[in-house]
């Protein structure tokens, strides 16, 4: 057994969706595995485990990160928000409603990560063009939708937040 084995552990304390969490974790555990397995926050998904598909996207200290590219021990002391927390707080309720109305999801597997990426874009750019939306979510793979409906839903949400047109 090499140095990355299960018996190398560390204690971590972090805030997940506003709750303080202290755990002993194997140092090799990825943040997304920690969230999914240890904390049972299964809304964050795994699609590639190498940072390409975006299914594992969560917010760490306000920034959208790939949960498969970060170790749980690196999140020691951090504030982590997952789709569960973002849903319960209502922080992205308008975006979720727009996705729902526009059917911007099919199987829903990419959706939590897609929403985190979209929310990040809307926070930084209140009036993105369709091309800007497409560029921003181009790290989030969706096999089902073909993206068009997702772009529509993000565009609609941005317009509604600016007070143009009704929210979807």
């Amino acid at each position: 057994m090499d140095g990355a084995s299960m018996d190398r552990v560390r204690d971590v304390t972090l805030w997940v969706n506003g709750e303080r969490v202290s755990r002993r974790v194997a140092v090799r555990t990825h943040l997304v595995d920690f969230l999914r397995v240890e904390l049972e926050l299964t809304g964050s998904h795994l699609g590639c485990e190498q940072g390409v598909c975006g299914a594992c996207t969560v917010r760490v200290d306000g920034v959208a990160v790939r949960g498969c590219l970060m170790l749980a021990v690196q999140a020691d002391g951090a504030r982590v928000e997952t789709i569960e927390g973002l849903s319960d707080s209502g922080a992205i309720a308008d975006l979720q409603a727009a996705f729902h109305a526009r059917n911007a999801l099919q199987c829903g597997y990419c959706t939590p990560g897609m929403l985190v990426s979209a929310a990040e874009l809307l926070a930084a750019n209140p009036a993105p063009t369709r091309d800007e939306i497409r560029a921003h979510i181009s790290g989030n793979y969706c096999r089902c939708t073909g993206y068009h409906a997702i772009v529509d839903a993000i565009e609609t949400t941005a317009a509604a937040r600016r007070g143009e047109g009704g929210a979807a």
Binding site: M6, C53, A101, R102, Q106, C107, Y109, T111, A135
Partner: protein
């Protein structure tokens, strides 16, 4: 659609949900991360399996030393192929209606020989997946690498390795078809065009990898299998057969599925092994493929080389077509649907939209030491459409006829149906002419041509590509059942009215994101006469739903929808009989609307459904003697008039090619299709869009690349390119509506259309852009390298 006994169609129902873009009720929890995919489940005593997979395309397994792995931390068991064969019997992927199709027995874990790089040869079960993987690394397998048959072009050469010596050669299946006077038609033609087309091997890349959690309860003697899968009843039947269990002991549950596209409808050795391990260890065992395992063990698709030619009269009339298709399917024909289906569909579908009566085809399906190949979204269609539409464009260019015009002259006219294509496939009602007219108008074809010419003058190379197609949907038993496959083409829907007026609908078709549950709820709410919020739909559970085929080949809406409609009508009738007794009215004078019993003529409310439910369930003593309310009804449906409900459509792509870099920019994409009655326009449109992008992926990016020795070179998501948002165009979708008369609701499928036509449209558009430069691409994916080679620049 046909009218029911009252002379009304469902469109006449008051408060109809049919044809409305209602959002999917079950999507909300997915948006909140509350979906339950297989890997989200945790059961008491659950163990995890990891597999040792062959690193060689072809190898003899001399032995596996398992001692170190067995001693590793957290390990519960290490199981070899021979040990597992005592629990799970092998299978052979052949069907009776593919005459001559042969394959070899396949085991959950290879025993003597591994036949592709990635085939599982030993299983380790441990407390966590990480520990199982750690222990797999400690397995010492003594493997002798054998010569591999890799290239499909060489598979039948006399000196090539025969993968299964017992079968005699590497030819799995061959089909020949010769219709009309092909030789005479080619001899008399004004123009004959000829081309060889290549469609690369690619795969589904579902974002959720394959996953299965098997739970054998030795006390209850009950196996519960949670499965990311499209056809739970089929899986149940197969588990019974190969594990020797009675049907009552096996339950298959398919809750949320993170994309499937035909990938999750086949029998995979590692999944069968996982179930067998649960039986052996008497505890829940979970297997979730990682991405490398997905790439090397999910079925692959396409990988066809088609030589085609087409004969034209001087006015552009297509006189005849001929194709020779060769496809490599890996070392086994996949169970139970077989790997002969795609080539068979290519033969059936080439030339499908057109009127010619002369057609000759040969398809050969060969074994090779690569990942097994089988049915993936739009099976055969993209190949047939690329070949047909590529040849039509070649003919148009030779005859100097506009691509729209040559199609207009050749499609089977809308008033000529029912009709039969040269290959023998039968069409009830298609709408090629109307669809083409709608497409031309939608894209403003003349203006686009003018823009193309103007930009050309400035050295900008844009192209327009068209693709007309037919699409197989609503398969009857002719697809699999007649060949002996125990795959249901019928589906049932059971409805139960509850006391408060809610309706529970359990149905055999399944949901993988297409919106199955939403359209079932729409149909049931409309048929029964209750608000849609009052309908709860249950799918994907063999213990809870009527027997059915699941969702594949675009059968959910057309077959499941009709079963739901018939069940809904029957339940309404049963409710009105009871209402009539309570209200002392003729049931025929009453109706159920918006959850209320009303006077049919005036719409005046007579009683709320909840009141009727209260009486029927809690005060049946007040009902007339002899009246027994029957508030559970089941209806089944299977298409019988035609083997398939063919649909049709046409797509167009507008692209720009940079001749210096070979890059293709997708500017716009249009699709007009005819899936009959549109139950939920938004859901249909999104099926089309998603399908188109999958087709674009095949056309431009996706390819499982192998080296000469049979090693898969790009089995990661960083190396295997998939369509991402930034490269994809906006996609306009429109419909022509020709309902099937085979059912009352008249819905046909829409799941394949996008993927069927998009590659041909994109390839034709690239060639339209390249034409003045004297270059032409004939292979997918049309990567920058392929385009630069075509241009002679590399």
């Amino acid at each position: 659609m046909s009218a029911d006994e009252t002379g009304l169609t469902f469109l006449d129902r008051p408060n109809s949900y049919i044809g409305r873009s209602v959002p999917r009720p079950n999507a909300r929890r997915l948006l909140q991360g509350r979906g339950i995919y297989v890997d989200d489940l945790k059961l008491p005593r659950m163990a995890h399996v990891a597999f040792l997979r062959s690193p060689y395309p072809h190898a003899r397994i001399r032995g596996i030393d398992t001692a170190a792995a067995k001693a590793a931390p957290g390990v519960f068991a290490v199981v070899t192929g021979a040990e597992m064969a005592r629990v799970c019997t092998p299978w052979v992927g052949v069907l009776g209606h593919f005459k001559g199709l042969k394959s070899a027995p396949q085991y959950p874990l290879a025993i003597d020989r591994a036949c592709w790089a990635g085939e599982a040869i030993c299983a380790v079960v441990a407390a966590s997946r990480a520990e199982a993987e750690d222990a797999v690394a400690l397995l010492a397998a003594d493997l002798e690498e054998l010569p591999a048959a890799v290239e499909m072009e060489r598979a039948l050469d006399p000196d090539e390795t025969v993968i299964h010596p017992d079968l005699g050669d590497n030819l799995a299946f061959e089909r020949l078809l010769d219709v009309g006077e092909v030789d005479a038609a080619f001899r008399d033609a004004a123009v004959v065009v000829e081309e060889t087309f290549q469609v690369g091997r690619h795969t589904g890349v579902c974002l959720e990898p394959r996953a299965i959690l098997a739970d054998w309860d030795a006390g209850e003697e009950k196996l519960t299998v949670h499965h990311s899968f499209q056809a739970p009843h089929m899986m149940q039947d197969i588990l019974c057969k190969h594990l020797g269990l009675p049907e009552a002991s096996v339950r298959v549950v398919c809750k949320d599925v993170g994309g499937s596209f035909g990938i999750k409808v086949h029998i995979y050795p590692d999944e069968m092994a996982t179930v067998a391990l649960s039986l052996m260890l008497k505890r829940p065992v979970k297997f979730v493929a990682d991405r490398l395992e997905s790439f090397t063990s999910d079925i692959h698709a396409r990988d066809h080389r088609v030589k085609g030619r087409m004969a034209f009269a001087a006015d552009g009339t297509i006189l005849a077509a001929e194709i020779d298709d060769l496809t490599g399917i890996g070392p086994y024909s996949v169970y139970p649907r077989t790997s002969a289906v795609e080539a068979n569909q290519v033969v059936n579908l080439v030339g499908g939209p057109y009127r010619h009566r002369n057609y000759r085809a040969r398809a050969r399906v060969v074994f090779q030491n690569k990942t097994p190949m089988c049915q993936y979204r739009a099976v055969g269609h993209p190949i047939a459409v690329m070949v047909t539409e590529g040849l039509v464009d070649l003919g148009a260019a030779r005859l100097d006829i506009d691509p729209v015009e040559i199609r207009r002259r050749n499609v089977i006219p809308d008033d000529a149906h029912p009709s039969t294509a040269a290959s023998g496939i039968r069409f009830e009602q298609l709408s090629h002419q109307a669809a083409l007219a709608r497409l031309v108008e939608m894209m403003d074809y003349p203006a686009l041509r003018a823009e193309q010419a103007a930009l050309r003058a400035r050295g900008i190379h844009r192209g327009i590509g068209l693709a007309t197609f037919v699409e197989i949907t609503n398969p009857s038993a002719a697809f699999y059942g007649v060949g002996g496959a125990r795959i249901s083409s019928q589906d049932g829907c059971t409805l139960r009215l509850n006391p408060q007026g809610g309706v529970v609908a359990a149905i055999g078709v399944t949901e993988q994101g297409q919106g199955t549950e939403a359209i079932v709820a729409q149909v049931v709410a409309t048929a029964v006469g209750v608000p849609m919020e009052q309908v709860r739909v249950v799918t994907g559970d063999t213990d809870a739903t009527p027997y059915g085929g699941g969702t594949w080949a675009s059968r959910g809406a057309g077959i499941g929808g009709e079963a739901a409609w018939q069940a809904g009508k029957a339940l309404r009738q049963n409710v009105l009989v009871v209402a009539g007794a309570i209200l002392q009215a003729d049931p025929a004078s009453l109706d159920l609307r918006g959850g209320r019993v009303v006077d049919a003529a005036t719409g005046t409310e007579r009683m709320p459904l909840a009141e009727l439910g209260r009486i029927a369930y809690f005060r049946p003593d007040t009902l007339p003697p002899g009246l027994q309310p029957e508030f559970v009804v089941t209806r089944h449906y299977v298409p019988k008039d035609y083997p398939f409900a063919f649909t049709n459509g046409v797509q167009a792509a507008w692209v720009e090619v940079d001749p210096d870099t070979g890059f293709v920019r997708l500017l716009r994409h249009w699709c007009v299709e005819d899936c009959g009655t549109v139950l939920n326009p938004q859901l249909v449109d999104e099926q089309i869009r998603g399908g188109i992008v999958q087709g674009i992926g095949a056309a431009l990016f996706e390819e499982c690349r192998y080296d000469r020795t049979g090693q898969f070179l790009n089995a990661t998501m960083a190396d295997y390119l998939v369509p991402m948002a930034a490269e994809m165009p906006d996609i306009a979708v429109a419909h022509v509506v020709s309902p099937t008369l085979s059912s009352e609701i008249g819905a046909k499928g829409a799941g394949e259309a996008g993927t069927a036509g998009a590659p041909a449209a994109v390839i034709n558009a690239i060639n339209d852009a390249l034409r003045p430069l004297g270059a032409r691409v004939t292979s997918q994916p049309a990567s920058p390298e392929v385009i630069l080679r075509a241009l002679g620049r590399v």
